[in-house]
């Protein structure tokens, strides 16, 4: 039986062979792999980018004190970005499932319309939920906009719900029973922290402090962006996003305020996206290895 760890290693191996760099998780709290700068920033602008990484993701409101077999406030996403999206991207994805022992012709695999949108990131895309025998196992998105800016070329984002796939492969009823490696379960690694974080997120988090922190981080993001340092500024956007999620889980944000908070984070994301694009342009888009194409794009932008 494939362990959780082996699954991740196989995906690393597979996507590595497809020319992806295998990056590591970003060292800050975030709601999804999309928020890792390896996706959010790299999807912007004309430079190609192929990456795969596993991303610890936090959704404070989804905590269930470790009592629900399917819900976690901290979980993993296996994230792949292919920019520009290759013509055979779906075949590549299906091949990756084969690496996990899932043969498409023995199952019912469906691509069901799903339009992804992240109001806080000013991002949206079109794609599918991918179903394996009725269970959503992957989110597949062609990014159309990020930080309010049109994405061109378009990236394909593949986000595997890695725990769900593990539960399926290992035939487990509870996420906590997943075998991480022989003798150690997902529960051994994460159960107690699920309980603790649920207490913290729902009961203990200090609303006044978090609100102050949100305001401070917002200011810092703006200040650092103004100094043209996109990634350090982006760190504070991520902090704002997570602080907002915590305040939300704490029930401290009314519906009216909610729209306001989301708008504030989105404005920061846009600011940083603009700064990042400018920086890449100033650098002359170094990831475009084809000199002629690079010159062409740069001179086209001069005119535009």
């Amino acid at each position: 039986m494939l362990t959780f760890q082996e699954m991740i290693l196989r995906l690393h191996d597979f996507w590595g062979r497809q020319g992806c760099i295998i990056q590591q998780p970003y060292d800050m709290e975030k709601g999804a792999g999309t928020m890792n700068p390896a996706t959010f920033l790299r999807c912007l602008g004309p430079e190609p980018w192929n990456v795969a990484y596993i991303e610890p993701s936090r959704r404070p409101t989804d905590g269930r004190y470790g009592e629900n077999p399917n819900r976690l406030q901290h979980y993993y996403q296996y994230q792949v970005i292919l920019k520009p999206s290759p013509d055979n991207v779906i075949d590549l994805y299906l091949n990756s499932l084969r690496e996990l022992g899932i043969e498409a012709d023995k199952h019912d695999i469906r691509l069901v319309e799903d339009n992804w949108e992240s109001p806080t990131l000013g991002a949206w895309g079109l794609g599918w939920e991918i179903w394996l025998d009725g269970m959503e196992i992957t989110q597949f998105t062609y990014f159309q906009q990020c930080g309010g800016i049109d994405c061109f070329p378009v990236s394909a984002e593949i986000t595997y719900g890695i725990e769900r796939i593990a539960m399926y492969i290992q035939n487990k009823e509870s996420v906590f029973d997943i075998q991480w490696v022989d003798g150690i379960t997902y529960g051994d690694v994460h159960h107690q922290s699920e309980v603790d974080y649920s207490h913290y997120n729902f009961e203990l988090a200090d609303v006044a402090s978090l609100t102050t922190m949100f305001n401070l981080c917002e200011k810092e993001a703006q200040r650092v962006a103004a100094a043209h340092l996109p990634q350090p500024a982006y760190d504070y956007v991520l902090k704002c996003s997570h602080l907002f999620n915590l305040l939300d889980a704490r029930g401290a944000i009314s519906v009216t305020e909610r729209t306001g908070y989301i708008g504030r984070v989105r404005n920061l994301a846009r600011l940083v996206a603009g700064e990042y694009l400018q920086q890449r342009k100033n650098m002359g888009y170094p990831l475009i290895k084809d000199e002629k194409l690079r010159e062409q794009i740069l001179s086209a932008e001069e005119v535009g």
């Binding site: 520009p84 199952h107 019912d108 691509l111």
Partner: protein, 689 residues
């Protein structure tokens, strides 16, 4: 010779929700573009699966039709100089058209004579024209949402991955981005590998079928439904008939195989609406019922593929539905620990609309509107209405409705009953959302009718007052549907209410809210909006536009009264007394149309005929008024039709437009008063007879 044209747009899986519309649009587009290109064919077929949109034009002509091209040149007056010789402008036009001047024609258009160049263009071979037409069709297709992919700028619902374009056996060559058209197609994504070469229509269809693609959506839909019914029968029940679900499933698969899965009967503790919603909305399963109509602990799924390793697929689906139903059971039990009323304080934290306040604000207004409407209609009682209004939205704060928003109202009723609320109150909570879609049922209970109308009045008045009105296809708050519902409920229950007055009273409930428009403007705009919906409803019932125009020209804010007059005038059009009435009306109205005064000075009347007409009318008037008041419109019209002989005698005996001003005024006044009585029911001058 004729050949078959096939265009297959191979795509990544299209959203099922787009398909019906996309196929219809493709039909229109193909007809239009092929006609414009003067390409004839015997039969056009538009077929589609999740992975392909196919246009088949059978028996297309080898050659494009010839065309008469007519180009208009300068006016005749400027095409010749003073000597009658061709002017510079005239010669220039001929040259530009590649013709000699004397080959031009002179034709009249809009009363002016122009030079015309009339040319006959011989048709080109279809094979030459198609490479321009086919990409044009593809690029002209629009979707609710479209996207770009890779480094290309073309937009489509999902990426285009191949293009098969065949005219007979020949490839129609063109490209969209990096995709070049070919004679290759692809079979089922998982049950076929590699490309399939196609040499014609029959082979195209056969190869797809052999490779697990049922191309024809109607055939596929019939297959799905047949399989679902068979599976249901084997499981000892029958499947839910649900057109939307069937259509969605048809467009989710290229090759259907239905299967039965089961779940523990312990989940049947949860209301059936919850279970079926979860099955349909989350999983696209068909629920199964026993012959006695009870939900069975099972479901029918439709796999995209053949019946290979079904055990694995069924086990997987059963796991998923189990987790879903486990959630539902949890929500049901959690919600059940609280009373519905205990959810109300949460309204303070839920926004109804940022400019119209919280849900608490709304519910308070709903209470006022309901109680007022209950008093006006005499339906239900104030305390029940107050209670129903307070609890109407409480289920929005339940865990179940948070998870399944489409169960709003349905859960409210269950939770109200569980909380020991009055059954009429519980029923009203369920019914106040009705009708949810065209053809849905209407509220039936007294409190339900009032609460349902109040909900719609509230939303219509609130939105119009802050400037939210439907425009074109934009109607995010479904105000058209709500206005339609309002009219239907009023008519169905024959409620006689002064709608304009109710709208003003509803407006008054928004005190404390900053509104953009005043009460009068809001009520007037809404009356017009609502009457427009009523016009639509009447037309759908087969009432002709002239009857509607005639009746609407005599305005009333009592819609039921308007509907009664509509019925009367509609029947009147074919009634035996119609002609007598129309003679009375026309003779009276034609002369007095511009006369304002209906006063008659009896003392100046001289002729027997006019004295008689006056006396008859004097006697008739109170009867007609009384019949109108009793809504006996037919009686009123018949009574007025009875004036026929008196009116005829009058017109035969006297001249109306005499020099004696007093006599003329009285005669016109008499006619005016007859016309006015006729027009209490409708403006009969608008009737087309």
């Amino acid at each position: 010779m004729k050949r078959d044209l096939i265009l297959e747009i191979g795509v990544e899986e299209l959203p099922s929700a787009y398909m019906t519309r996309a196929l219809a649009d493709l039909q229109t587009l193909a007809e239009k573009k092929l006609t414009e290109a003067r390409l004839g064919y015997d039969r056009l077929q538009i077929l589609g699966t999740p992975r392909r949109l196919t246009i088949i034009a059978e028996g297309m002509t080898e050659m494009q039709g010839d065309a008469n091209i007519e180009n208009r040149g300068p006016k005749k007056t400027s095409a010749f100089d003073v000597d009658g010789k061709p002017s510079k402008a005239g010669l220039g036009f001929a040259r530009g058209q590649g013709l000699e001047f004397d080959q031009l024609e002179i034709r009249e258009q809009g009363g002016i004579e122009y030079l015309f160049a009339v040319k006959r263009e011989a048709g080109r071979p279809a094979a030459e024209v198609l490479p321009e037409v086919l990409p044009d069709i593809i690029n002209s297709l629009v979707f609710p949402k479209s996207m770009r992919w890779g480094a290309y700028t073309t937009r489509f619902a999902r990426p285009i991955r191949w293009l098969l374009a065949l005219f007979g056996q020949d490839i129609v060559r063109f490209a969209i981005e990096n995709i070049e058209s070919s004679n290759l197609t692809y079979g089922h994504r998982f049950l076929s590998s590699g490309s399939l070469e196609v040499g014609g229509l029959a082979e195209y269809k056969q190869k797809l079928r052999d490779n697990f693609v049922i191309l024809d959506q109607e055939e596929r839909q019939a297959m799905v439904w047949q399989q679902v019914q068979d599976v249901a029968a084997r499981a000892g029940g029958h499947a839910m008939q649900n057109e939307d679900l069937l259509e969605e499933v048809t467009y989710l698969v290229e090759y259907p195989t239905a299967f039965f899965g089961s779940f523990s009967s312990s989940y049947l503790e949860v209301p059936p609406e919850v279970l079926t919603t979860s099955m349909i909305e989350h999983q696209r399963y068909f629920p199964v019922y026993s012959d006695s109509g009870d939900l069975l602990p099972g479901f029918i799924g439709v796999k995209n593929g053949r019946d290979y390793s079904m055990d694995l697929v069924i086990a997987g689906n059963e796991r998923v539905i189990k987790a879903r139903l486990e959630d539902a059971l949890f929500f049901w039990r959690e919600d059940g620990k609280k009373t519905l009323e205990s959810m109300v304080p949460g309204f303070e934290n839920v926004m109804f609309h940022e400019r119209l306040g919280t849900l608490m604000d709304k519910v308070n207004r709903l209470g006022q509107i309901s109680v007022n409407l209950g008093t006006v209609t005499g339906l239900s009682s104030s305390d029940k209405l107050q209670r129903a209004a307070l609890l109407a939205k409480a289920d929005l704060l339940s865990a179940m409705v948070y998870e399944f928003p489409e169960l709003q109202g349905i859960m409210g009723r269950y939770y109200a009953l569980q909380s020991g609320e009055d059954t009429e109150v519980a029923q009203a909570i369920l019914e106040h959302y009705l009708p949810r879609f065209a053809g849905d049922s209407l509220p039936a209970s007294a409190a339900g009718i009032v609460l349902c109308l109040s909900e719609k009045l509230h939303n219509l008045v609130g939105c119009f007052a802050i400037g939210i009105k439907p425009t074109g296809s934009q109607d995010p708050y479904a105000l058209r549907r709500q206005a339609l519902g309002l009219v239907n409920i009023i008519l169905e229950n024959k409620l006689h209410i002064d709608l304009r007055k109710i709208l003003l009273e509803t407006y008054a409930c928004f005190s404390g809210v900053k509104l953009k428009f005043d009460a009068d403007t809001t009520a007037s705009e809404l009356m017009e909006f609502i009457l427009q919906r009523m016009r639509g409803i009447l037309q759908e019932r087969g009432i002709s536009y002239d009857v509607i125009d005639a009746v609407f020209a005599v305005p009333s804010s009592d819609l039921t009264e308007v509907a009664d007059r509509i019925t009367c005038v509609d029947e009147f059009k074919n009634a035996a007394y119609r002609d007598d009435f129309m003679v009375v009306y026309n003779r009276a109205n034609n002369l007095s149309r511009k006369w304002e005064n209906d006063e008659v000075d009896q003392s100046v009347l001289v002729d027997e005929s006019e004295k008689n007409l006056y006396a008859t009318m004097h006697h008739l008037a109170p009867r007609v008024r009384d019949m109108i008041a009793r809504r006996d419109y037919e009686g009123a019209l018949r009574a007025l039709a009875g004036l026929r002989s008196s009116v005829d005698d009058f017109f035969e005996a006297v001249m109306i437009m005499v020099d004696d001003e007093r006599l003329k005024a009285s005669r016109l006044g008499l006619l005016k008063s007859i016309a006015n009585y006729c027009q209490l029911v409708a403006d009969f001058s608008k009737l087309v007879i």
